[in-house]
Subunit: 263 residues, 4 copies
């Protein structure tokens, strides 16, 4: 069992400057902690609650920024894709293509992402049982790509609420794919603020500790230097200045748990 | 309150011959009962559980069949679209564009469908609260199209199970959009057969009676002359030879309930 | 299929005068409508959210009032019991002993109620699947009493919310026991007001219509002449002056549905 | 933050010999690990799925066995009570009175348990939100007893399934009461085997690791030397020969997490 890795970054790619600053800051933290880091950011928020919510800078404007982060900082980059025709283009500049949870059963998107040869990270739908992710992974594998990550981000529990089933982590691991726990979207409250989604930032650390103790390959955590003014997912992003302390604790738990497994 | 209308047909467009036979049979039933009918069928099953499941004949092959049903039988046609670029093409041959439940928050798809000027029927996501559909309808409306139907088709309840919240019908009606109850997919058991979804056909009539008694503009019911050998949704389609009896009872309940409202 | 019956009354037995007034008013309504009526009221609210909430007048003070309602008005009476030792005493003065939902698996209570020989109405626990009620009914039957009613009153759906699964009605009917739909507690929001439970009175008629259209032996509806000042369940009781109109509509739906079944 | 404590033992008190053997074995394990131990066992299974399921040896027969375990082994003992009149009697021989989850809102039982002066451990109902446990604790406190433990054991999630919300642990801790995680009943599948409850023993360690990483005062874990032949809860009890290894790992995680908090 390899030690814990991180997928981290701001929810939305707000600007070249902001993305580079955030990536730089996260690179330093990861170096100090000795943890593997993938930089995550989105060029388009394609399924906002309301039409009036901000969408993002778009794929074409984002590509050179992704490339610059990879080249200047040496960080692998992850972004999410929303349509089959975006996959090839995005794959030129990023290392991991992410399939959003709502789209996790869209065969054409999964196949198109798979065919790029990039790692494909599929988020488990809020409406899906963990054992059903084997069929989702099967679509990527069937398209010739075995580099698959599966990410847990909560399951529907009543209205406007998600709940994290920690049993989902070992169940999804039975596919043989590395399993990631998304501690940011697991504390989202979909539609919980009327025209936008709410979140419970105070539970990010709680659920992340739980997932790491259960055993995961990696954590997905969105972070921001000013989350309360971020264009999306502000209520559930971790403030950047709390990020290092959080990860340090999670690494300690990871070490205990994986030493046991290895021992 | 107008009397109950129907959206009905086989889940998948299997062939020109089968579609015309089904549409013809349904037209006769609707004429005997005096009920408005929209013929529904899908050219692509874009989110099957498994990669190996049948997809469908595709949009280009379906378009002339849709046109023939409209022209030769005079029936309005509904089909579902899965990507923005399909909307204009599908709108040439059908009257209602349907947005699948998993895709009900994909802004680009909603806007593209809206811009065709056709009626847009949005299925409520299995992960969505009924009051959140106002924002979904707002995306279509904000794109300049006020011809919106909202369809209830169950909400996630534990794993591999949906439940129908009858309160959702009046809540969604507060948007001013006609509300449809999909009695076929509400009894689906997502992923319930391992590599495919199961269903509980025996509860279609149960839930349809409930929804009509609550009060809806229309019902969405898939039907097939041989559901146990249908390529998709067989476990939850109503056999064609039981369809007329079912609808006759539902129309009686509808009449009682709407006479009260009018009275 | 016999026509719809009613179990109705104020949640709590507030005083002799109030109970007799309510029972008298309900008897007149039932006579006008030609519907069977059981008068329901509780002498003890044994599981209030908070210690400070009102409990009720108690069994000993209630018994003569129950007896007076039966004798002076000729109405059968239902009340709920909370401990085995209350069953014999309550059975002296009432026709139906009701087992509260939280207590529906307490074997000693079920057996004690069964042994009185009175009809036993068991409310399905908010935590129970409908098919599990056969085992609950089996405990009453195994104690020698076949006069069993099973009542649906919603199932847990996320936090502080219940949802009504209309499939539960035919599933529970497979036991052979008459099935009652409790439209009052199905719209309860447990703990929804912090120190007490909330409710959605506006959905009582919605869910009652749905249940009657599905097909039930009876309805359980709490009503009060001044629900907003009632000591318990005020938010979900129907105002007495709306009761007759509501029941008249439900009887019409019941007639349509049961004529079909009989036909 | 005190180190993790344990509440452990076989689900049912099967016989004096078996109880003493189990208590002795657990005492030795706890001594080797240096962990605090309360011995748990039940004299009555009062809410079995079916009437034909075994009930237990009863309170009167259990009392001298509880006393013997306390005296001969020096272990504190916990048992569950089901009716107010059992509380005083049970309190003579045990240290902690436990309120079963289904009964967690029964005011009379909570008050009677409180008045014994013994520690009261209340299990959170499968139908209750974690923030509603403050009112449950308030009933015990209002009866003059501040020695309250609150135990999480899963919440209803669809039918026949529980799910563990790790956010419930810090939410319940806001009451100031020590919070226990019951890893045995959290993996129960209520009614999951038709006439009895099933369970997923393989997830006991998974959920226990998660809960300890989140931070709890103690764990409740049932264990048995031959769980597959135990009279109740066999499917979710940990085999005794795996108990020590499990607890050792959990103590390591607990140490890391609580050192952080203290540091």
């Amino acid at each position: 069992d390899a030690p814990l890795s991180l997928i981290a970054g701001p929810c939305a790619l707000e600007s070249r400057t902001h993305a580079l600053e955030m990536a730089g800051a996260l690179k330093e933290i990861a170096a100090r902690l000795g943890v593997g880091l993938v930089f995550k950011t989105s060029y388009d928020k394609a399924n906002r609650t309301s039409l009036s919510s901000a969408r993002g800078i778009g794929l074409e404007e984002a590509l050179p920024i992704f490339a610059e982060i990879r080249e200047s900082l040496g960080l692998p980059v992850l972004t999410d894709v929303h349509a089959p025709e975006q996959c090839d283009r995005a794959a030129e500049a990023v290392d991991i293509l992410q399939i959003p949870a709502f789209l996790c059963r869209q065969t054409d998107l999964l196949v198109a992402a798979a065919r790029t040869g990039r790692v494909v990270n599929v988020k488990k739908g809020q409406f899906l049982a963990p054992w059903d992710m084997q069929h989702v992974a099967g679509k990527v594998l069937g398209a010739g790509n075995a580099n698959i990550l599966l990410t847990e981000r909560g399951v529907s529990f009543g209205y406007n609420t998600l709940i994290s089933d920690m049993r989902a982590l070992p169940i999804m691991a039975q596919t043989g794919c590395p399993v990631i726990f998304d501690a940011t979207h697991s504390v989202q409250q979909p539609g919980g603020q009327g025209g936008s989604s709410g979140g419970q930032r105070e539970f990010v650390a709680v659920l992340a500790r739980a997932a790491v103790a259960v055993g995961v390959a990696g954590l997905f955590i969105e972070t921001h230097d000013d989350p309360d003014n971020a264009p999306s997912d502000g209520p559930n992003m971790v403030p950047l200045d709390q990020f290092e302390g959080l990860i340090a604790e999670l690494m300690e738990i990871d070490e205990v748990v994986k030493a046991r497994r290895a021992g």
